[in-house]
Structures are given as C-alpha cells and as structure tokens.
C-alpha cells in the first residue's frame, strides 16, 4: 500500500459482542475527508483506530505507511482532537499545549515557539494564561484544536471539531482546514453538520452501523446512487414547454415548476439521457436556458438516500 494514503485493509473492531466497524477497506488520500454518519455508526472508532488509541480486532491499518502499533513514529505524524473535552486538570491553555509538545521531544525553546504559533492560529493568545477549566465551550474547542495542530502534523484527525464554535470561529476554522488540506496534509473530520461537510470536504466517507456505505467525492457518490432519481434544476424562459416535452420520456419521474415560473425542478432516473434530450429541445425550440444544476448532489441528499429513512442502504 502507498505511503501517501491512510489505508484500512479488511479492518474490523468489535467491543465484545458489540460491533464497532466491520470489514472496512479504505484508502484515504491527502485533502479534507469527512466522516459522516449517525451516532454509533463507527466514526470515532475509525478515528481511534487510525490514531492508534485502539487496536483492530482484525485487519491492517497503515497511516502513510506507518503502523499504529508504532507510537513513536505515528505520534509524530498524527494530530488528534478528541470529541470530548480532554485536558488534565488545572492547566492553563499555554501549559496544555506546551506540556504535550514536550512529549514529542522538542526542545523547550521550540515548544515555546510552537505553542505561541498554535495559539495564534486559533486566536487564543489573549486567553493563553487562563486555566482551561475556566474557558467557554468554544474556547475549549479551539484550545483542543491548537494542541492537535501544535506539532505541525501531516495527518489531522478531528472528531467533531466545529462543535460549540460561534459562526466567526467556525468560518476561521473551516479556512484553516482548507489551508491544511491544500498544503497536502490529510485532514480527517467527523461532523454532523452536513452543509459544512459539503463546503469543506474533498471526499466523504459515509458510515452506518459500522459499515462504510459509500466513499469518494460527493458527486461521484451521488452518481452511484442509481435507485434514487437525480434532481436537476433548469432555469429557462419556458419551463412549462420543457416539462411537456420531457414527460414523453420514460426516465422522467417528476417535474415541478418553481414559484417564479422561471425554473423547472425535475427528477430523472437517467441523467445522461436527460442532458442529451435537453440539448435537442434547446436546438428544436430555441429554449433560452439560464442555468442547469444538479439539486441533490450534496452530502445532505446522499446521507438521506443512503442512511436516512427508507433509503437506508444497510
């Protein structure tokens, strides 16, 4: 397996008789990868496995070619931000980052420098000398984020990192993720906030009841969900005429004209045939098309189709 991906080969993890994850095969490339799934779907288990905090019951994991059984090498590669508040009692924000940096083996001067940089990145410098216990929820979230990025890791594993952040901090944090992803790092994020996942992710891994339901780019995943008709929004000057023409086709499932009567929201089981037909209609009728855009190739829709309600795949 390549040294540039995080790989899971037939990995299962059971907690006694309770299934954590089952038979997972993944190769996570650089960029931002979001783990999406309901509570208990195995997101945290997957993260704990790739940070070496738990061992798989079976299968093999490699993080950029390094086994999680080798904490000396893995710890240098990985930065982990846990879902729950996790900080030894009584530490100030500065000490929290500084002491954990010392465990990486940096010199005191280097630890000072890296601590200051990490605090600055999450805008926590003014509160650095206050005890973590006295921080607000959002500040604790940011200080956790700071300790996970302080040693400048190549792989960032962030469990619900946007929880508790105000909109400003959220936007800043998302910008940080983008910057890290763009620099060739692996940023693994778990989140329940699907529209944010949509904004930041290069690829998603959808989990349900311990199984990987889908993985890859959102659009690619959506294209694979053939049993759910594709929703497409066409804005044009004659949506009624277009609808009448489209309903002659077998693959058309539904069509709705928007309230402003300048758009047609349609559902089709064969998107390729639809696009071909649309080209013909434009040529035949001289239709003036303003825009054509898929309306359900986002994480929210894919989540609904694969995991939520009747469309559950597992």
């Amino acid at each position: 397996m390549s040294d540039s991906v995080i790989s899971f080969a037939n990995v299962s993890r059971f907690y006694g008789e309770v299934l954590g994850i089952n038979n997972v095969n993944l190769a996570i490339p650089a960029g931002i990868t979001s783990l999406v799934g309901p509570n208990g779907s195995g997101k945290t288990t997957l993260m704990n496995l790739m940070t070496g905090l738990i061992r798989p019951t079976q299968g093999e994991i490699k993080v950029l070619g390094v086994s999680p059984d080798d904490p000396e090498r893995l710890g240098k590669l990985v930065g982990y931000c846990a879902q729950f508040d996790a900080c030894p009692k009584g530490l100030t924000g500065y000490q929290f980052i500084y002491w954990f940096l010392r465990m990486h083996g940096y010199t005191p001067a280097e630890c000072d420098r890296k601590t200051a940089t990490a605090l600055e990145r999450v805008s926590m410098t003014p509160a650095a000398q206050r005890p973590v216990g006295a921080y607000s929820k959002g500040m604790r979230q940011r200080i956790k984020l700071a300790q996970s990025i302080a040693h400048d890791p190549q792989v960032l594993v962030l469990d619900e990192p946007l929880n508790g952040l105000d909109p400003m901090a959220r936007a800043e944090t998302i910008a940080l993720f983008r910057e890290w992803g763009a620099s060739g790092r692996h940023v693994i994020v778990s989140s329940h906030i699907l529209h944010e996942v949509d904004q930041i992710s290069d690829q998603v891994i959808l989990l349900s009841q311990g199984y990987v339901v889908a993985e890859g780019e959102i659009k690619g995943v959506r294209d694979e969900v053939k049993e759910q008709p594709m929703q497409i929004l066409v804005r044009c000057n004659d949506p009624g005429g277009l609808a009448a023409r489209l309903f002659q086709q077998d693959h058309m499932v539904e069509a709705k004209i928007t309230r402003d009567r300048k758009g047609l929201l349609l559902r089709t089981s064969d998107a390729d045939s639809f696009y071909l037909l649309l080209n013909n209609v434009i040529l035949e009728k001289g239709l003036d098309v303003e825009s054509v855009a898929p309306a359900d190739d986002d994480v929210n829709s894919v989540y609904q189709y694969l995991i939520g309600g009747e469309g559950a795949a597992v």
Binding site: Y15, G16, V18, P29, A30, G31, T44, N48, T51, G52, L53, I54, P71, E72, R73, L74, G75, K76, V78, G79, Y80, A82, F84, D85, A86, C87, P88, K89, G90, Q95, W99, F100, R102, M103, H104, G105, Y106, T107, E110, Q147, H151, D152, Q154, G181, A182, S183, G184, R185, D202, Q203, E217
Partner: protein
C-alpha cells in the same frame, strides 16, 4: 479528486532522546505539587529523622561534642550504628513514604481518566508503558529522596568518620538500604497507581492505600487463627517487606526481625521464596489493573 501542490514540510530539527520523554510527566507533576503547601511541608518534615540520625553519627565520632554533652567515652555505644540503626532509619522513612503515597498517589491517574486526557497522551509518541513509568516516577523520585538517599548519605557519613574498613565490613547495610527501599517503593507506587486508576474519588483511594495494608493483614491473621497455620502472613504486606529487608540487610546470619512497621513475626517465618512470590503476585495484580484501565479510548460495553 482535488489536486494540490504539496507544500507541507515536516519538522526536521533537534529532538530530545525518546527514552527520556516519560520525564515530562514528573516535571509537570513536581511543579504542581510544589504549589501544595501541606505536601511541601510534609516532605521537608520527613527529613527530620535522617537529620537526627546524621547528628547521632556525627556526635558519636566527635569527642569534644560528646564531652560538651557530658557523655562519658564509654557511653557512646548506647546508640550503636549497626544494622538496627539503619533498618530503623529505613523503617521510619518508609512509613513516611506510605503517607506520601497515600497523599499523592490518588491524584496521579484518576484525574486523567476523569478528564479523558489519556487519549491525548497516547495519541503522541508516547506508549502506555511510558505513561505508567512517567506517573510512577513521580512517586519513585520523591520516595527515593525520603528513603534510600538519606540512608546512603548516613552510611557514607558513618563510613567517612569510621574508616574504609567499616564500610567494607558493613556493605550489606548500604545494599540493604538501597534494594530494600526499592522493593518498598515499587510495591507502594504500583499499588497507588492501580488504586488511582480504579478509584476515582481521591480520599477513598488514599484511604484504601492504608486499607490494603491493614485489612489484608487482619485477613491474614484470621486465616492463621482459623486454619492454625502461618501462611496467612503472606497477606500481611508489612510482614513480607520486613522479611525481605532482614534478608537483604543480614543475609542468612539474621539477628533482627525487621524494623518499626515492618516486622516479621518471630518464629512464624515462611520460606523466603514464598515472600518474593507473594510480592511478585501483588505487583502482577497491580499491573493487570493498570493494563485494564490505561487505554487510549475507554471501551464501554
């Protein structure tokens, strides 16, 4: 798939030796303990007895000091600097170490478990063994300063004043102090850590430290009475330590039965191997308890 230019460069500067990383834990812990006045006072107070011992050794060898105190030359042997002297020093200091372990021990692991901090330690270049060694070293360093360090300093002072020949003749006092103290330190540190990992309420964990000694000893006594045997002594940890000390200090030529809190019951000695086996079993149980609790992620079934 997005294609990015890889600009990330990992740190390539100097790092401290990996074997020394566990020392980060005691370094931080000492800073925290230094802020607790009672502990600082208790720690300093624990050096009173070794200072008195050093004074006795000094006065024993200083004729002008003896005459100043009005002590006749022949009376200097009232307090002999012998195996009993050094074993008593170790005994008193070890009792102090027990109190120290009861004060500090419960606060070692339980706060990390209560605050979900183990995942932070173990998601670094830091193994579970290093975490346990780091936490244990907090107790080991402090208890060393209270037990074998003053013991060896007193031995050195006596040897310096009495001469090289005395040191050669009494080398067992030094080795007995050193190894005897370490047996006690390891037992105490492991017990304190294991209890700290399992009992999250600090006062209860501290009380349990004493409970393990007294309840186990009472249980052992009960076995002795009911079964009319001596094997119940294996449950009496202070008795086991006393036996180990006597062996380490005197070898096969035994003239004492331990010191202070650590006395082996006269005429009820068990084979030495059983003593070592019982202490080994206690250490194993503590390590097993730690193994169950010191995990990066708590497994809730």
């Amino acid at each position: 798939m997005a294609v990015y230019k890889k600009t990330y460069r990992p740190y390539e500067g100097e790092l401290t030796a990996s074997w020394s990383r566990f020392l980060v834990i005691p370094r931080y812990a000492f800073e925290e303990l230094h802020g607790k006045r009672f502990l600082t006072f208790f720690f300093l107070a624990s050096f009173i007895y070794p200072l008195i011992c050093a004074l006795i050794i000094y006065v024993q060898h200083n004729t002008s000091a003896l005459s100043l105190l009005g002590v006749q030359q022949g009376a200097r042997n009232l307090i002999s600097i012998n195996v009993t002297f050094f074993m008593s020093l170790l005994g008193w200091q070890s009792v102090m170490a027990l109190f120290l372990a009861a004060f500090i021990g419960p606060g070692l692991v339980s706060p990390d478990l209560a605050n979900n901090a183990l995942s932070l330690y173990l998601a670094r270049p830091f193994s579970r063994a290093e975490y346990v060694i780091g936490k244990m070293s907090v107790l080991a360093i402090l208890m060393s300063l209270m037990t074998w360090v003053p013991g060896l300093l007193c031995f050195g002072l006596q040897g310096y004043l009495e001469g090289w020949q005395w040191m050669r003749d009494n080398w067992r006092l030094a080795s007995g102090t050193f190894f005897g103290a370490w047996v006690w330190i390891l037992v105490l540190a492991l017990l304190a850590m294991a209890l700290s990992a399992w009992v999250k309420w600090k006062p209860a964990a501290g009380g349990l430290m004493f409970g393990v000694f007294f309840v186990a000893s009472a249980f052992g006594g009960l076995i002795n009475v009911v079964q009319r045997t001596h094997w119940g002594n294996l449950f009496n940890i202070s008795n086991l330590i006393g036996l180990v000390w006597v062996q380490l200090f005197e070898g096969s030529n035994q003239t004492t039965n331990g010191a202070v809190f650590f006395r082996a019951t006269q005429g009820e000695q068990l084979p030495m191997w059983t003593t070592w086996a019982a202490l080994g079993l206690l250490a194993y149980i503590c390590l097993y308890m730690l193994r169950r609790k010191i995990r990066g992620a708590e497994v809730v079934r």
